[in-house]
Amino acid sequence: MHPAPSVIFFSTFSGLGFGLLIFLGLGMPATTGFNAFIFLAIAYLLAVGGLISSTFHLGHPERALKAFSQWRTSWLSREAWCAVAALVLMAVYGAGLVFFEQRWTPLGVLGALASLGTVFTTSMIYGQLKTVPRWNSPLTPANFISLCIAGGALLAGQIVPAVALLALAGAIQIATWLRGDSAFANSGTTMQTATGLGHIGSVRAFEPPHTGTNYLLREFVHEVRRKHAHKLRIIAIMLMAVLPVVLLLLPFNHVLALFAVLAHVGGVLTARWLFFAQAEHVVGLYYGKR
């Protein structure tokens, strides 16, 4: 799949932002006043910044409000509802923290649930697609949610939970890669089933339908140079999980914590780029490209 920067930035930063909102909603850390304002501002910048970035890949962003209408079937529509619910609930809860020094716990828990729901619905946009066997697995939501919570714990300064959650997220990331590498071959979709010609013999794409490129090839068959994929995976896992865990286990210091956050963000961005760049869509079979 084409690794569109807008979607990579959206899913990484809004995942982190909603992760931080989850911890703030649960009262971790239990701050109020100006301190709470700083935490909330960081979370909203990340979450809303990510959401705005995601509209850049729309053909008609001015019609985006219509996306709230089809929550019965569409994970993208459900994501829109969850995101708005989370941002509104947490804004009211945050106003209590910042202006009234009050913790309205039920509101915070609801906001945390809606934040978690937003990341889950985002992940299901990809996880539901049978056309991309690498994504079509419960590991996709597990991957997105574990990274969101680990990143949230890190940003919220919850050292002990963050160490455990980062290690868990790293393990789920590795499991996602290992399963994903054989997912296409295990999906049962081949050139034979795509063309229905397998009963005659082995099928080879002889001539494409067009001499130039097209939307399908750019979007789905887009062949990114993947020769460094293995190295990028090692870099991603080191940055997203190993390095932050090591930094957090050292005696606490705000500079080290900042490096842990930066490393984690860099690692998740790398992993998210690979998530798209390595995903194979079955339509490539019609072009003999799988």
Binding site: R63, Q128, L197, V283, Y286
Partner: protein, 258 residues
């Protein structure tokens, strides 16, 4: 609405005959023409006469080479070249419809045609991601998703002569490789073709239940592999006399002596 209808009154769709398609791409051109000049945003081209041309098409013709396996120790049979037109299959369980966040994509209850309401489309592209067949293409100029409408503006169009009330690709096909009809009616032309010729689904394992069916190509003759004479008329054309007689025989011998 992106909820799929439990059942549609008709199941309009195409039968595509891989045995008779000659790969002329006339259906591609007539589709592009009709759907650019009529309903909805035109099918745009980008840099059409330049170095990197591309454009939106709702119907494309692939060509595949199929190599039958060797049987025993005989030489491998001849490979078959199969031209393969592909457009929206108007699936019963259309995954492109249910993923749409705005309701722009829908499947009609009355005839099962899958359509896009372009005024509601935000151009997110998720429907094209959900389609295993590559039947949907985002138009780069209009920013909305384009797909085969089964020429909904032809098949019910009373301003057209009756003979033209079928999809442009079907109307134009010079080898009658494309057939249009109602699959819900077991006596329709398309249902009978599917029954007689073993019409098949593309990617059945994806669970989309496509309405459009493909007729498999018949096995190819293996003329080059056969040693004995296979032409029925050939025995009658064999020379009846191998040796000349009479005047011609004398002429032949005389000329050879010279």
């Amino acid at each position: 609405m992106t909820m799929l209808p439990a059942k549609t009154e008709k199941k309009l769709g195409l039968v595509i005959d891989l045995d008779t398609c000659v790969g002329c791409h006339a259906c591609v051109i007539s589709c592009k023409g009709w759907n650019t000049e009529n309903y909805g945003a035109p099918l745009s081209d980008q840099d059409p006469y330049g170095a990197d041309p591309s454009g939106t098409f709702l119907n494309r013709v692939h060509s595949y080479e199929v190599q039958p396996p060797m049987l025993g120790r005989a030489a491998a049979p001849d490979a078959q070249l199969i031209h393969f037109p592909k457009s929206c299959l108007h699936c019963e369980d259309a995954p492109c419809v249910t993923v749409c966040p705005t309701g722009a994509s829908y499947k009609r209850v009355e005839d099962g045609i899958v359509l896009v309401n372009e005024a509601d489309c935000i151009g997110c592209g998720l429907c094209a991601w959900a389609c295993p067949y590559g039947a949907r293409e985002m138009d780069a100029a209009a920013g909305v998703m384009k797909k085969c409408t089964l020429c909904v503006d032809r098949i019910y169009n009373e301003n057209l002569p009756e003979i033209d009330r079928e999809p442009a690709c079907v109307r134009t096909c010079p080898s009658s490789a494309r057939h249009f009809g109602d699959f819900a009616d077991p006596d329709s032309n398309v249902s009978q073709l599917v029954a007689e010729r073993g019409g098949m689904d593309l990617m059945p394992e994806q669970g989309t239940k496509p309405v459009n069916k493909y007729l498999p190509p018949r096995p190819k003759d293996q003329l080059a592999r056969r040693e004995e004479e296979i032409d029925g008329l050939a025995p009658f054309l064999a020379p009846v006399a191998s040796e000349a007689k009479g005047f011609l025989s004398w002429l032949n011998k005389t000329l050879e002596k010279l």
